[in-house]
């Protein structure tokens, strides 16, 4: 509960009408951003703990086995400008998608990567369809964007359970050895 307090308090502050409508002064806007960022970082502690329990198959602390591996779960707060330190710098990583809705959903997942060829497999080891799309120049040139990612890797996560998660393994490959290996979308024409 302590880990939630920073974001709780930030959300309390941001009930002010200037925060709701964006009519605050510039330095106040900067302070709101600082409060939100700090709150979200503290919430990561609890989401990491919860996801470790879920992925290890335990539901309460008394049944937690200390020998079970603790896995870090990073999120990408700048994914909206196709920037993510984790996916850009790792050749092999796991994408875990948590569904907060009370019904199963399908979702198109989009991850910034440096390019090349990627294999994405589901939890049963089955390869899924992927698509590599060059990041638009007008996104790459957004001021403040600092990223080596030049492509967005797309795949479809299917049947993510209600209030549950699904994991996919992404591996960078050297050769294109199956039909589902991603490669740059070829029919790209400038008009």
């Amino acid at each position: 509960r302590i880990d939630l307090n920073a974001l709780r308090e930030a959300m309390g502050v941001m009930q002010h009408h200037d925060a709701v409508t964006g009519t605050e002064k510039q330095h106040v806007a900067n302070d709101y951003a600082r409060l939100l960022q700090r709150g979200i970082e503290e919430c990561e502690i609890i989401s990491n703990a919860a996801l470790n329990k879920l992925t290890n198959g335990t539901t309460n602390s008394s049944s937690h086995n200390p020998e079970e591996s603790v896995q870090p779960f990073y999120h990408c707060p700048l994914a909206n400008i196709s920037q993510c330190a984790s996916t850009e710098n790792l050749d092999n990583f796991v994408v875990t998608i948590y569904n907060p809705l009370s019904r199963s959903i399908d979702k198109v997942i989009n991850i910034p990567v440096v390019g090349g060829s990627y294999n994405v497999t589901d939890s049963k080891g089955v390869a899924v369809l992927t698509q590599l799309v060059p990041i638009a120049d007008f996104v790459i040139n957004i001021p403040g964007r600092s990223s080596n990612a030049t492509y967005d890797l797309y795949f479809v996560a299917t049947a993510i359970p209600a209030l549950g998660f699904k994991s996919y393994i992404v591996s960078k490959t050297k050769s294109k050895n199956n039909d589902y290996n991603s490669e740059e979308t070829s029919n790209r024409i400038s008009i």
Binding site: V20, T21, G22, T23, E24, K25, Q26, A29, S47, L51, Q71, P72, F73, Y74, H75, C76, I81, C84, S86, T87, L90, N92, F93, V94, V95, T96, I97, Y98, N99, P100, L101, I105, D106, K107, V108, I111, T121, S123, K124, G125, T130, Q131, V133, P134, A136, F138, V139, I142, P143, G144, Y154, V156, I160, I169, S171, T185, N187, R188, S190, I191
Partner: protein, 283 residues
């Protein structure tokens, strides 16, 4: 692939001309425009500058560009058209294989600051709907409220500001309907914006603005936000969908809109973990 959703672009103008959602097609155009902000000394209401608290356009709406460069990208999961309208407005119109909507993913800014007046950028979706000067917004975030141009339900309105006097808050959705065709068009926004339907069959949403003069309503500074030493660049999306309001299709527009709203407002969380073992061991 899984949904019958697509759009057409005119290769000469670079603008969208037709959209198709769940097997239903209709002509639709979309473009960006801007209003110039009024500049005054703020001593009387008629001289009030457009600013953080008030939207007071000066002169008529103007198109943001004369021509649009575009690049289509077509793949198995997503297809998109990337459009460049001018040096500060670009957009990707995108569909994917599983969703019943067309996404308009815009990148706007930095807006010019070398002129007397600020710029207030809007996007307009235009159809052939006979919407009878009526549109709907979810201004209180709970229910769709009926709006009529130049009309208030509880008093006789004398409109002195024909554009901003018809603007309403749009928290997450704005719709228009054609009662004759039994069609409804909805635009869902990813953040609260101001919007209207100033002409029949049109939806207009304001997505970025700078106002180079204070409006003297209290904030005490011009609305000219910067980041990294430049004018603010914003990125966001509109999700456009439509359909028949009668029961000729299994999914009504209300059903599709609720589905999109749930998926966007309670979006799933994506986490990345380094793979510390082999994929087989991890499985």
């Amino acid at each position: 692939k899984d949904t019958d959703t697509s759009f057409q672009i005119n290769s000469l103008t670079g603008l969208i001309t037709e959209v198709r959602v769940d097997g239903v097609s209709m002509p639709l155009t979309q473009n960006f425009f801007y209003y110039e902000g009024y500049v005054g000394d703020n001593r009387v209401f008629s001289n009030r500058s457009s600013g953080a608290y008030v939207f007071r356009p000066y002169g008529p709406i103007k198109p943001a560009s004369n021509g649009v460069r575009f690049t289509p990208i077509i793949g198995e999961i997503i297809a998109e058209a990337r459009q460049t309208f001018n040096e500060y407005i670009s957009q990707s119109i995108r569909i994917n294989r599983i969703e019943n909507y067309i996404e308009f993913d815009w990148v706007i800014g930095p807006l010019p600051t070398n002129e007397l007046r600020g710029r207030e950028i809007v996007t307009r979706y235009s159809t052939n709907f006979q919407s009878n000067s009526t549109f709907y917004t979810d201004s209180n975030g709970k229910e769709m409220l009926k709006r009529r141009i130049n009309f208030r339900p509880t008093w006789k309105l004398n409109v002195s500001e024909p554009v901003s006097g018809n603007y309403y808050p749009v928290t997450s959705k704005i719709t228009i309907r054609d009662e004759q065709q039994h069609l409804e068009l909805a635009v869902l926004n990813d953040r609260a914006q101001g919007g209207s339907s100033l002409n029949d069959g049109e939806i207009e949403l304001m997505i970025h603005r700078n106002c180079l003069h204070d409006d003297a309503f209290g904030v005490g500074e011009a609305l000219n936000e910067t980041a990294f030493g430049k004018g603010l660049v914003i990125r966001g999306s509109h999700y456009l969908t439509f359909g028949y309001t009668d029961n000729r299709k299994a999914q009504t527009p209300a059903f599709i809109e609720k589905d999109i709203a749930q998926k966007k407002l309670l979006d799933s969380w994506t986490f990345i973990s380094p793979l510390q073992t082999t994929p087989k061991e991890y499985q």
